[in-house]
Symmetry: C2
DNA sequence: GCCATATTGAGATTGAGTATCAAATGAGCA
DNA sequence: TGCTCATTTGATACTCAATCTCAATATGGC
């Protein structure tokens, strides 16, 4: 199958597949391309709908692969639903707007040190953490102020 | 139905039910007692097993009630499974040991201010957040050191 | 092109949680 | 104490996300 689009995520994913001795299949490329076309965050189910010719199990398998390889990250919504979004590399947290639903990354923020220090006073060794922030994005906040 | 045990959680729950014009039923008391007897954290399903004579739907309904009233809080495990644990009142975070599974509360820790400040540099107004920490509790950490 | 094996897809299955609705129960009141 | 009626309960069906199974297919090395 010829490579049509040249989205960096698709390219990088295919390169990484080769690197790790996974096979480069047409289906994987399709999934990666669909992921790249999703806005902000999306559910695995939405991806399935965007890829009607690809089996549900395969979509889930490839999403898992993309997460393991760091191309996608999980976003936990306030109602407990699991979404995914294209990942900026490296550790970061999500700012999820509960008004418009958009998600952005919280940049330049290192809690690990603070968390470790706090937890160590109780003898606890922190190895990992999850942080999700909910509130209003800039646009929604200014709309609220304007009205 | 006579009140047999006098666990504070059970007592407080029953008092709050009255306060909020919910009915004090034998089933609610049973559920509260079972919750009080669970160690650390537990799933709704485990509660169902501990209460074979109570319907699954009723267990879920009462767990939801206990959460709304602040007697229970949700604990998100690293694999995404939802557990519950008896809540210390007030905002707090969880330290979840991935070795023995125990959970403890992270006390005296206020991130809200720091989080708000960081997020506001991106124009985001934080209204809520979730934080879960994973690692080794004191016991598991010292066992690892000893071996 | 051939082969061994990784990958895929249809469909069954699991598991958590919710909806339905008739029957049971609790609480106020006579 | 018994009546009455709204609340609560429980059996069951259902939904939804996600995983498992396994035969069919596609891939990459030779």
């Amino acid at each position: 199958m010829p490579t049509k689009a040249h989205h960096p995520l698709v390219e990088d994913f295919l390169a990484r597949l080769e690197e790790k001795d996974y096979r480069h299949t047409g289906t994987r490329e399709e999934v990666a391309r669909a992921v790249a076309q999703q806005g902000s965050h999306f559910t695995a189910e939405a991806l399935c709908e965007a890829l009607p010719r690809v089996g549900r199990a395969t979509v889930y398998r490839n999403v898992k692969l993309l997460v393991e390889m760091g191309f996608l990250c999980r976003v936990l919504m306030e109602d407990g639903e699991l979404h995914y979004q294209v990942s900026h590399k490296g550790h970061h947290h999500h700012l999820i707007c509960t008004y418009c639903g958009q998600s952005q990354d919280l940049l330049n923020c290192d809690f690990q040190g603070l968390l470790k220090e706090k937890a160590s006073t109780q003898g606890f060794e922190v190895e990992g953490h999850t942080v999700e922030l909910y509130g209003r994005c800039r646009t929604c906040a200014s709309e609220a102020t304007a009205s």
